[in-house]
């Protein structure tokens, strides 16, 4: 009985911390319903005295955000799928197989994260341009399909799968792909959830690369649209906040969907001794 009470008491600091951490997000949410004169009022009005939900449809009408969001959704979904497939394969290979140069391969893969996009932009652009992919979806998502973060993430998680299981399966005559599919992946559900989430999320926010590749509204992703929208001082900044709130939703929904997989209970069962 005492322990349960203790657990409930534990909620107080946790909830307090959450609210504190979320103050900026709450401010964004609150501002998105405010009149534009109230923006940047230092004496903060957390609950708007007058609600302006029209900021949302207004923002959507002022600039083609539905189109921009759709484009972002398409690109991010493809990137998510690509990463889940390729990063899992590579991460598994690096985690559970020893071959000459495997440490070097990991370093080589990580090295792709060590040079900023600014200096690799022009040649990457030229590659995509030579494929005829400027102002297309594939032009935006192609260089993002495999990300070293994802490979590294999967490697580290797959390391936690006991090799005994794999050995046992091999002795039983199972093929490598079957082992991956039937034994490794089911135990990596939390990792796959994290990978999918991060791949989608990182692609969702991308700015510089889509800026370079896209010059037409048809393919514009939402960050480009939002920055351009923000530059126009005729657009109330409270509407910018409304767009920002809307932009938060898809990734958050994905998170909520995937977080079931993060629950305990996906650990190992059976196979003792």
């Amino acid at each position: 009985m005492g322990r349960r009470l203790l657990r409930w008491l534990g909620l107080v600091p946790l909830a307090g911390l959450t609210v504190l951490v979320l103050l900026p997000v709450l401010w964004m949410l609150s501002t998105s319903f405010q009149a534009s004169e109230k923006m940047f009022q230092l004496a903060m009005e957390w609950i708007p005295a007058v609600w302006h939900p029209e900021n949302y449809p207004n923002a959507l009408h002022r600039a083609p955000f539905p189109l921009f969001f759709t484009n972002s959704l398409i690109v991010s979904t493809v990137v998510m799928v690509g990463n889940v497939v390729f990063c899992t394969l590579a991460g598994y290979g690096l985690a559970k197989f020893r071959f000459p140069g495997d440490r070097f391969a990991l370093l080589a893969i990580l090295s792709t994260l060590m040079l900023p996009l600014e200096v690799t932009l022009v040649p990457t652009f030229l590659i995509v341009h030579s494929l005829g992919w400027l102002n297309t979806y594939q032009g935006i998502f192609a260089p993002l399909l495999v990300d070293a973060f994802g490979i590294f993430l999967m490697r580290q998680f797959v390391l936690g799968v006991p090799s005994d299981y794999l050995q046992a399966a091999r002795i039983d005559g199972a093929g490598e792909l079957r082992i991956l599919w039937k034994i490794v992946l089911p135990q990596c559900k939390p990792a796959l959830a994290v990978l999918a989430l991060f791949a989608f999320r990182d692609s969702w926010d991308q700015f510089l690369w889509p800026l370079a590749v896209v010059s037409r509204d048809e393919y514009r992703t939402y960050p480009l649209g939002l920055v351009r929208f923000a530059e126009d001082y005729g657009n109330p900044q409270t509407e910018q906040m409304a767009v920002a709130v809307m932009a938060t939703i898809p990734v958050f929904v994905l998170f909520l969907l995937l977080q079931r997989l993060l629950k305990k209970g996906f650990g190992l069962t059976g196979l003792k001794g």
């Binding site: 652009f125 800026l211 037409r216 509204d217 920055v227 005729g234």
Partner: protein, 445 residues
């Protein structure tokens, strides 16, 4: 298939509908340079008034000349330069685009834009073109006897004041106009309202949020103090005696008059005049600010009209010039001759109805002298006298290929002096050294 007569009739009807006065007329004589289909790309920057007007004019043009199709794209201002640069690097730059006049050296020194044929723009000679534009503009667009930019808007920087706050402290918005830097300081001091150590209202505010603004606000002070950015050998001289004097003036608002709090600002890139609009600062230096910019943030100020624009002060009341800067249309050197001709034609068309331009984009002034200032709509604009004088007497920004480095160096220097209480001479020495390094890099590289 249109006959030549149909074609001419359409253009003359078009010209009449446009209602042009003054030179250069876009009359019936202006047939399109070609009847063959032409596809152009044109890029510009986002602005709530200017961009829609440009788009409208281009749409009108392609309606009149249906063989021309224009892919019109616009980007956030800071992104336009990046896009164009990436475009040149990869062979995907637009055929025509707009650029700030302070960036002209960037395109010119690398021969990336085409020298314009002023006759296609409606001028008999280069001298006619030169005489029809504000002198400061022309200095950036004309290079080695040729014009490279076709001017759009061009503005001078003004001192925007809140007249309600003036009256509150017993000042008269007409008689107490600050004409010298000392007067500005004194007036600002009177306008300042403090609550303990916190500024409820700053008397006068300098922009602190972006290096471009720091540079263009410092520019006229430096020149008024008798200084210059570079000597004849290209060495940066902002740290000489005149430079120190200029920086002292710049820093006086906080150090001497106590009328400003440099750390306290809500300005953002699209709305640098935010503190003034929110009535946290009584005066602010900026290009012309019109009702459309005021209304979204301070509808009361716009409705009751309690704002006024003065010329910026000077070291003496006859030396009150401020910075002016503007935007040109330019043509990519890689565009085909045919496209170049059509672009000339289109640019001329765009700027052939200046009254319409004013109606859409007031009070943003134009570089051209003729053909618009006599309209009643222009004359009745509030503060128009000051706005026009600021443009006509303004001085241009330093024309240098290391403009961005210069602006960043000055921004750092101003921060050191006003935020960290640094020594003025030391800060200026560091800035000058940074600029010289950048120039040397450029020469070497």
């Amino acid at each position: 298939m249109t006959t030549r007569r149909d074609f001419l009739r359409r253009t003359s009807v078009g010209a009449a509908a446009v209602g042009v006065l003054g030179i250069p007329a876009f009359g019936a004589a202006q047939g399109a340079p070609t009847r063959a289909p032409v596809k152009l790309t044109f890029w510009t920057w986002e602005n709530p008034q200017q961009r829609p007007w440009l788009k409208k004019r281009i749409d009108q043009y392609t309606q009149q000349y249906p063989n021309v199709s224009v892919e019109f794209q616009y980007f956030a201002f800071s992104d336009l330069g990046k896009k164009v640069s990436i475009g040149y690097a990869t062979g995907t730059a637009p055929d025509g685009y707009t650029t700030g006049d302070w960036l002209m050296p960037t395109w010119l020194t690398r021969k990336l834009i085409v020298p314009l044929d002023v006759q296609q723009l409606g001028y008999a000679s280069l001298d006619a073109f030169r005489d029809d534009h504000a002198p400061a503009f022309v200095a950036g667009a004309i290079h080695e006897g040729k014009a490279y930019g076709y001017p759009l808007w061009f503005y001078g920087v003004l001192n925007h004041v809140n007249t309600k706050q003036f009256k509150e402290v017993g000042l008269d918005p007409v008689k107490d106009e600050p004409k010298t830097w000392e007067q500005l300081g004194e007036v600002a001091k009177r306008l300042t309202v403090k609550d303990g150590s916190k500024f409820t209202r700053q008397g006068f505010k300098w922009a602190m949020h972006a290096s471009q603004w720091t540079a263009f606000q410092f520019n006229p002070i430096l020149l008024q103090a008798g200084g210059q950015w570079f000597d004849k050998d290209g060495k940066c001289t902002v740290n000489n005696e005149a430079g120190v004097r200029a920086m002292t003036i710049r820093a006086a608002m906080v150090k001497q008059y106590g009328a400003e709090d440099p750390a306290d600002s809500l300005a953002t890139a699209p709305v640098p005049w935010m503190d003034w609009l929110k009535e946290r600062a009584a005066m602010f230096s900026a290009p012309p600010i019109g009702p459309q910019a005021i209304k979204p943030i301070n509808p009361a100020m716009e409705a009751e009209g309690y704002y006024k624009a003065y010329l910026m002060p000077g070291v003496s009341d006859d030396k009150r010039y401020s910075t002016c800067y503007g935007f040109n249309c330019v043509i990519n050197v890689h565009a085909s001759k045919e496209k170049q001709d059509v672009l000339h034609h289109m640019y001329r068309f765009i700027m052939s109805d200046l009254l319409d331009c004013w109606k859409a984009t007031a009070p943003l002034t134009l570089a051209r002298k003729s053909g618009w200032t006599d309209y009643p709509e222009v004359k009745s604009t509030p503060n128009i006298q000051a706005i026009l004088r600021a443009k006509d007497t303004g001085v241009f920004l330093p024309r240098t290929p290391v403009w961005s480095e210069l602006a960043d160096a000055m921004h750092r220097a101003v921060q050191k002096v006003t935020l960290a209480n640094g020594d003025i001479k030391v800060a200026l020495n560091e800035a000058a050294a940074e600029v010289d390094r950048a120039t040397a890099e450029l020469k070497k590289g």
